[in-house]
């Protein structure tokens, strides 16, 4: 039975260092299995997030040998020979060990102007598979936030977090924009407040997406086209000048009573 050496970053906001653990390697194991065995033996206080251990919840994101991966879906036997280095996601502040403070993403979620459908007909809405499939691709997102972690606008520019939503929320906006029922127009908001223009389509987000969502090609580029179309449409421009109409906010959408 061969062995595996794990170099795991341990520490908190004040700093930290790598700690190495060498264990037996079991057949078919993923990185998270080995982390669990370390917790059960040498380091019961080794902090990491995980829930489903099946690639469905997006909790166990970390950087494995420098690349954002889900620890539960990364098999040890498919990594290159030698020590496996595991570090917390770099774009977010460390809480402890492999656990980071991802609250930036939840703050961005609160700013999304809500879904706003028309009243439902008595026998339900009619939508066609071909129309819902566009949004369904984006709704596969498991919110692992690895696209946010790898996006250089966030990763290299901490101050972007106030005015740049990041790829996870661009697919959310694209989903709403392409939703057959939604009536809320967010295009100016995405341009002005969510910083869509800062994305220069390097596709790093698409590369790390564990759900294989084509974030850049299917969400961000079409979204950029729609936003630009709306912004430079001369009639829309004139309308904005005259009315300065505020879009229906999330508050207005949220007060719809539960049917």
């Amino acid at each position: 039975m061969s062995e595996v050496t794990m170099r795991i970053w341990r520490g908190d906001a004040s700093g930290g260092d790598f700690e190495s653990f060498t264990l037996e390697q079991n057949e078919g194991e993923v990185v998270l299995d080995v982390i669990h065995r370390i917790q059960a033996s040498a380091a019961p206080d080794l902090a990491c997030r995980w829930n489903c251990k099946a690639g469905k919840c997006g909790s166990c994101s970390a950087e494995i040998n420098g690349k954002p991966r889900l620890m539960c879906m990364t098999r040890i036997d498919q990594l290159p020979e030698g020590p496996v280095t595991v570090t917390p996601m770099k774009a977010f502040p460390v809480i402890r060990d492999l656990v980071t403070d991802v609250s930036f993403n939840f703050a961005m979620a609160e700013r999304v102007p809500a879904f706003l459908p028309p009243p439902m007909p008595a026998d339900g809405f009619r939508m066609f598979q071909v129309d819902v499939e566009r949004g369904q691709e984006f709704r596969k997102c498991i919110e692992c936030f690895m696209c946010q972690d790898v996006c250089h606008v966030i990763r290299d520019h901490e101050d972007s977090k106030t005015h740049y939503a990041g790829p996870r929320f661009f697919i959310r906006y694209a989903e709403l924009e392409m939703h057959p029922l939604d009536t809320n127009d967010r295009r100016e908001f995405i341009r002005e407040e969510m910083g869509l223009g800062y994305c220069n389509i390097t596709k790093c987000c698409t590369e790390v997406c564990p759900e294989h969502i084509k974030i850049t090609d299917n969400a961000i580029i079409p979204l950029k086209e729609r936003v630009v179309d709306a912004h430079y449409d001369p009639i829309a421009w004139l309308g904005r000048k005259i009315t300065r109409r505020v879009k229906r906010s999330s508050d207005a959408a949220a007060v719809q009573p539960a049917p």
Partner: protein
């Protein structure tokens, strides 16, 4: 007053899965102060693991379907141990809850006419499961999460509730929790508390459940004075992965069988034809030819036996493996590769395709899967009133997997997601109305708070003691061996004795490191709940001298009609996890004649 961070709300909901979020939406819509407290991040709840769909008799695919058939299927699947009123409300209200999700942004798969598509599942007479590929739970949680966020509901993430606290009148007054990132204590005062904490699977070795499913809500409700019923009824899902060992237990959706997959033993035989119980014979195909016709045209044949309720299929697989007809890794084969095109499989079952490809190196469009039973769901839980989800403790409610009644002795696939939204909503309404009408501020009893805090922190004080992970591993192995899928008196008695030993070991836990995000410490706070669940399951299993649904006794192999008249109800008179429990018979509700008639129809 205690020195801890403190919050006051009208309604506090513990758990942010489908039931908790649906309850929060309803309570908030009534203008109350609502908090959701979850030990994970928002959107990570175990609900995301639900794959196949959400059962609701909308009749979009087969117009013959209606609530009466759904009611009948749920009761028969539950082997008549259900709370009939919950089964009735669930069948009647589920379609509205599905349409409501669509109004909140969910994108279900569609029929050719543009309606919500429904798929076949075990135990459901008609195609009934609204779904999104094989990731329906994710769609449900994301839709509810986005609704909760848009309504501005306060969510306390990575905040683990340790104990419920009552006031001097015995009403619920709030709870004590701790922040996982810092380890600091936080208290909540509330007129109503809804426990929506999900399941208990972590007490077994092979389970589909995540670390979260430690039965916190079951345990806290019991300690606070509520009753637990049907705790012996545990669903072992027939199809979990068996290899590699590190993913043993991981769920393989029933949709594989709904979409044409069949079970074969090592001799290549479709063995399920040998395991059709009399109760299901009239509606189950006799031959492979008939079963295969059904997939193409539901009127051209009866249902394949692979789609019998889960308890029937799990027992059959267990028997085949024990008889020596298992696969090299101790399961049976689930084959869809030889029956459907690769394109069909990748489109209908995308996450199964990826799961097997990435974790086992198996291409399910070319080879069969190896599967076996895995601990999946607990039908038992907190005893509640069907209409309001109220427990017998004033101000305490329970909804979702943590509550009991709807599913009886065995849950049908797809009935869980609809359970969450039907009864989450009802609990939200009732808890809000109770909070709005009840008088007086709630004051947490300082002594109760301090006792909970002292117990949680004790493992830091000890200079030597046990590693909580060792205790968890031993508990899981013991429960798997002694109170697993097939049980007998000797093994259950042995389990009950060993559980006393586990209580002693938990009282000796020592944790290392600090309080900030310490998983070892968190596990130490989970173990009293896991032991409470294990004890009540073993007690129920000991006293139910028959086999019914998710409870199989090799020394009492058949169902006994007398046992169909009551649930086994547990309480903890002293309120202690390691104290004495009381187990008594609690009569089932009498089914009205007009509903009974629905159950007794031949087909």
């Amino acid at each position: 007053m205690t020195p801890y961070e403190h919050h006051e709300y009208d309604v506090v909901i513990i758990g942010a899965g489908g039931a908790g979020l649906r309850a929060a939406i309803e309570a908030k819509a009534r203008g109350l102060r609502v908090a959701v407290v979850t030990k994970s991040l928002l959107g990570k709840a175990h609900t995301v693991m639900a794959e196949g769909g959400m059962a609701a008799a909308m009749g979009n695919v087969q117009s013959e379907d209606n609530w009466m058939v759904h009611f009948r299927d749920t009761m028969r699947g539950g082997k008549m141990l259900n709370n009939y009123r919950m089964a009735e409300l669930h069948a009647k209200e589920a379609p509205d809850r599905v349409y409501e999700l669509e109004q909140w942004g969910a994108l279900f798969d569609r029929t050719a006419e543009g309606k919500i598509l429904q798929r076949d599942f075990g135990g459901h007479r008609y195609a009934r499961l609204a779904h999104v590929g094989d990731r329906t739970g994710l769609e449900l949680i994301r839709t509810l999460q986005q609704k909760v966020v848009s309504m501005g509901i306060d969510v306390f993430m990575e905040c683990k509730v340790l104990r419920l606290v009552r006031d001097a009148d015995g009403r619920i007054a709030g709870c004590v929790a701790y922040w996982r990132p810092t380890g600091e204590i936080v208290t909540f005062a509330a007129a109503s508390v809804i426990v929506a904490t999900g399941g208990v699977g972590r007490s077994w070795k092979f389970t589909t459940n995540s670390w979260e499913s430690t039965g916190d809500g079951h345990a806290m409700a019991l300690w606070a004075g509520a009753q637990l019923i049907d705790m012996e009824c545990i669903q072992f899902h027939p199809t979990g992965m068996v290899w590699p060992l590190s993913v043993r237990g991981l769920l393989v959706t029933e949709a594989v069988r709904g979409d044409g997959g069949v079970l074969r033993n090592s001799e290549g035989q479709r063995f399920m034809f040998n395991y059709v119980a009399d109760m299901f014979r009239a509606e189950t195909a006799d031959t492979e030819e008939e079963a295969d016709r059904w997939y193409d045209d539901h009127d051209a044949g009866r249902r394949p036996p692979e789609l019998l309720p889960r308890d029937e299929v799990a027992r059959a697989i267990n028997t085949e493996v024990k008889a020596g007809r298992g696969t090299p890794h101790g399961g049976v084969f689930l084959d869809i590769a030889s029956r459907r095109s690769a394109e069909f499989i990748r489109r209908r079952l995308p996450s199964m395709y990826h799961q097997f490809m990435e974790l086992a190196g198996v291409d399910i469009t070319r080879e069969p899967m190896e599967i076996g039973p895995t601990c999946h769901y607990i039908m038992g839980g907190v005893k509640v009133d069907a209409e309001t989800e109220a427990t017998r403790v004033p101000g305490l409610y329970a909804a979702g997997e943590v509550a009991a009644g709807l599913h009886g002795a065995n849950r049908l696939g797809g009935n869980s997601l609809s359970d969450l939204v039907v009864f989450g909503r009802r609990a939200g309404i009732a808890a809000a109305e109770y909070a709005a009408s009840s008088t007086g501020p709630r004051t947490l009893d300082d002594a109760s708070v301090e006792e909970a805090v002292a117990e949680a922190l004790a493992p830091f004080e000890r200079t030597e003691g046990e590693n909580p992970y060792d205790i968890q591993r031993d508990l899981q192995e013991m429960m798997q061996a002694n109170v697993g899928i097939i049980r007998n008196a000797a093994e259950i008695d042995d389990a009950l004795e060993k559980l006393q030993g586990f209580c002693d070991r938990v009282r000796r836990i020592k944790v290392t490191g600090g309080r900030a995000y310490n998983p070892g410490w968190n596990l130490a706070t989970d173990l009293p709940s896991m032991i409470t669940v294990s004890r009540t399951t073993a007690l129920g299993a000991r006293d139910r001298h028959e086999s019914r649904g998710g409870h199989t006794r090799e020394d009492f192999p058949t169902a006994d009609p007398e046992y169909a008249t009551f649930n086994l109800a547990h309480s903890a008179p002293g309120g202690r996890w390691d104290g004495d429990y009381l187990t008594e018979r609690s009569a089932l509700l009498e089914i009205p004649d007009e509903l009974r008639a629905l159950l007794e129809e031949a087909k």
